[in-house]
Every structure is written in C-alpha cells, then in structure tokens.
C-alpha cells in the first residue's frame, strides 16, 4: 500500500490542446503595479524585472498597469515602471480608483485586458493582488496560478510555465494554462530579484477610461489604519523579527531585544516558554500555538529551537541564531549562528547594525542617489 509518488523531475508532460483562435492574437506581458496610500509595494518592480525577461523570450512588449486617483503620483508610478524595465504603461486615472476596492479594480483590469489583449498577466501575491487576481481570472474565465515561486516561457508554444509549492511546501509543481488567455499568475513578494533602476529608460503611457461612477460601487472605504500606528504587534506581516526565548534567563533581558528591534524597525517575537513565563505578552508568541511568520530576517536569541517554535518561523528567508549551545536544535535550520551568551551579544549586534545603517545612509546621501 506504499503510495509513494515518484517525484524525480520527469520531462514536462503537457496534454496537447489547440489554442482557441480568438486567443491566438494575444501578445505581450502585463504587470499590475500595486500601491496603497502612497507606498509602492516592491513586488511590483520585482515582477517588472521578471516580466522583462519573459517578454524578451516572447519577443513581445512589457507593459505596466497603473490604476489610481488622478494626480502626479500615478504618473510618477508609470515612470518608475519604465525605469525598472517596462516598455509602456497603461494608466487609468479615476477618483473611483483612489483606494483599493475589488469591484472597480476588477472592472478596470478586465477592461484593459479585453482592450489590449496581453498573453501573460502578473500580479503580486499580496492581500490586494490575490483579492484582485481571483476576481479578474474568474471574470475573464481564464486560468490563474497563485503564489508562484518560478516563471518561465516554453517558446515552442508561448505558454507560461508557472511553478509553485504544493502540499504545504514539501513539493513543487509546474502548472500550464492550456486554452485560455491571458495566462495569469501571482508571485510571492521577495521571490523574484529586484531589477536595476535605470532612469535613462523611456517609454510611452497609454491612458484609458474606467467607465464606472462612484454610485455604481457598492463597497465604500470608511477608514485606513496603518500598521505603524496599530497598537498590537503585527508579527504575521513583519519583514524583520527579533525573537527571545528562555535563554535570555530574565524578563529584564528582553530590553536589549527591544533595543535591537528599534534599530532594525523590527517586531519583537518570543518563544512559548518566554510567554509561558510571563516575560512578554502572548501576542508576541511565534510557533505552533502562536503565530506563523515569514519575515526576511529572523534573529532568534536564546531560543533552543523546539519543534513547536520551529514550525512557526522555519519559513523565514534568513535565520540568525544566538545561543550558547552550539548543538541546540535551532542550529539545524538556521543560516548563521553567534555562539555565546545572547544577553552580551545582542547589545553588540545592535551597535554593529546602528553603525552599519548610519554609514550606508551617509554613503547614500553623499552619492545623491
């Protein structure tokens, strides 16, 4: 009864399907530029970078899609898209598009796709990107592969090869979209490399009307509370986390952790025993019975790496472990280790980071970049 499915990478097996003629003319790659309250989500430029690569393989154009309220901000976004590699930008300016709402944004996207007929449409796998991609794909009755970690083109039939994790990440699969266009995919932030920003690049901007009045839009935005002002720690969405465990021995020692967090603009997390001992509030607990986090950098101080903690933070991009026990379980799934007493190392690390950031900033101002 051994139902072991052999996953040795066998050659791609794609059932042969003839593309519906009305889709045969679809050309070009489009990338949705995501922004909210003046902040551009970096995944937009990562996808422009990847889109450039795919467009080159398809020998077609790369276009950015910018939606928003009228004003210089959205125009600046078009320029940025072109600086990062786009050939052109489709721009829709309309007060109805001021804040992200599913109904108007879905109408805008489907309108642009039906007008400019791209063969590939990419969005970031963010809460906004996922919300929008699902509605657009269903409205267009086309295929969508979500949370991709890899994209490529099969030049033999111009099909997009989207690869993504499945079964909770223990396996990868490559998905193809057989008989519909555009081929849609969302990509997780920080997966694709950030392209270089070249202010010498130029490109055209094509405006298009939304064709929807505010009264037609059912859902209204009442308020927006930025995270920075949110009182409760937002561990699940933090990019930088410094976490403390029983190895810090005393609640006061968590202060050095908060110092480092302030310098890095990081959230402070904790392992179960530290929360259990009442050193930090339960909201900061990372792990099986706490939060699951996927930060860019996770610094674990005085944390042994018990199974219940590991499952909550193993998905971090880079893990630094500070522990006096070189054989602690956490060493088996961390990238870097500082062997020693966390309470002594943390202040030194805070100083090192503070100086490094100051130096980098000085260099940046001096360089006029």
């Amino acid at each position: 009864m051994s139902d072991a499915l052999d996953t040795a990478a066998k050659p791609l097996k794609k059932p042969k399907r003839v593309l519906d003629p009305k889709f045969a003319a679809y050309r070009g790659v489009c990338v949705f530029v995501e922004h909210e309250h003046g902040h551009i989500h970096p995944v937009s430029w990562e996808l422009i970078g990847k889109g450039r690569e795919l467009a080159n393989k398809l020998q077609a154009e790369l276009a950015g899609i910018v939606l928003g309220a009228p004003g210089h901000e959205v125009r600046a976004l078009c320029d940025e898209a072109i600086f990062h590699g786009a050939d052109l930008c489709y721009l829709m300016q309309d007060p109805v598009l001021k804040d992200y709402r599913n109904q108007p944004y879905t109408k805008a996207m489907t309108e642009l796709v039906n007008t400019f007929t791209p063969e590939v449409l990419l969005l970031g796998a963010t809460s906004q990107g996922r919300d929008l991609a699902g509605s657009v794909a269903t409205t267009l009755l086309t295929g969508l592969t979500a949370d991709c970690t890899g994209l490529d083109i099969d030049t033999s039939d111009r099909s997009l090869l989207s690869s993504r994790p499945t079964f909770g990440g223990s396996l990868m699969c490559t998905i193809v979209n057989l008989n519909t266009r555009p081929q849609m995919a969302t990509v997780r932030p920080r997966v694709m490399p950030m392209p270089a920003r070249d202010t010498a690049r130029t490109g055209r901007v094509i405006e298009h009307a939304l064709g929807m009045a505010e009264d037609d839009v059912v859902t209204k935005v009442v308020d927006f509370i930025p995270d920075a002002r949110a009182d409760r720690p937002q561990l699940a969405f933090a990019d930088f986390i410094v976490a403390g465990g029983r190895g810090l021995a005393k609640p006061e020692n968590f202060n050095v952790l908060f110092d480092l967090a302030k310098v890095l603009g990081a959230e402070v997390g904790a392992s179960r025993p530290a929360v259990h001992a009442g050193w930090v509030e339960a909201d900061r607990q990372v792990g099986q019975s706490g939060k699951t986090v996927r930060p860019k950098l996770y610094i674990a101080a005085g944390i042994s790496g018990a199974v219940q903690h590991r499952v909550g933070m193993e998905g971090a991009d880079v893990i630094v472990a500070i522990n006096n026990d070189a054989k602690a379980p956490i060493m088996d799934f961390s990238n870097y280790a500082l062997i020693g007493n966390a309470v002594e190392i943390l202040p030194a690390l805070t100083e090192a980071f503070r100086e490094r950031i100051a130096a980098a900033r000085a260099k940046k101002e001096a360089g006029g970049g």
């Binding site: 179960r272 259990h276 099986q288 019975s289 790496g305 018990a306 219940q308 379980p329």
Partner: protein, 101 residues
C-alpha cells in the same frame, strides 16, 4: 554492578518534530500541584523518565513543564513519589495524534 554508561546525548526534539500534534494552546493537560515539593525532590525521576523531555530543570532548580510534545504515556504521574502531578488527558481530539502508533 552497572558499568558506567556513555550512551549518546540525544536531542529528543528532532524525534518529536516527526510526530503529529494538535496543541490545545493555553490548556496544558498536566500540571505540577505544588512547585515547592518539586524543589525539594532530588533526584527528579520525571526529568529522566519522560520519553518526550517535557520535564526540565531550570538553572535555579525549579521544574519547568512544557506539555506541547507530550506522548500521554502517564510515566510522570506514576514515577512521582510525592504524587505531585495533576495528570489528565488533553481535550478530545487534541494532543498527540499517532499516524502509525
């Protein structure tokens, strides 16, 4: 009569990581009745006998019990001479869930 034994130090965490648990957060099913009794207890058989290493001795000698990895065997209740363990099963469907058993 027993020759000094140099059995390897084992990290039981790695073994527990293979198991399937449904942790009943905030509702530990085993509790120490009176921590002072543990303070006076030496040697502490629960620490040695627990197959999941749930019972640990802190630097200051106090007992620290974390039942997330508990295998629900009942050993700590039985080996504790002062009967200082309030031992129950987790709520239905929680705790260890053996895939093979």
């Amino acid at each position: 009569m027993n020759a000094p034994v140099e059995l390897p130090a084992i990290n039981v965490e790695e073994k527990l990581f293979q198991n399937r648990y449904r942790v009943d957060a905030g509702r530990p099913h085993i509790r120490v009745i009176d921590p002072a009794v543990c303070g006076r207890c030496d040697p502490k058989p629960c620490v040695v006998c627990c197959p999941a290493g749930c019972w640990r001795i802190e630097e200051d000698g106090a007992i620290d019990l974390v039942v997330d990895g508990c295998l629900e065997c009942g050993t700590c209740r039985i080996v504790c001479e002062p009967k200082n363990v309030d031992w129950n099963y987790p709520r239905g469907g929680f705790g260890i869930l053996f895939k093979f058993g």
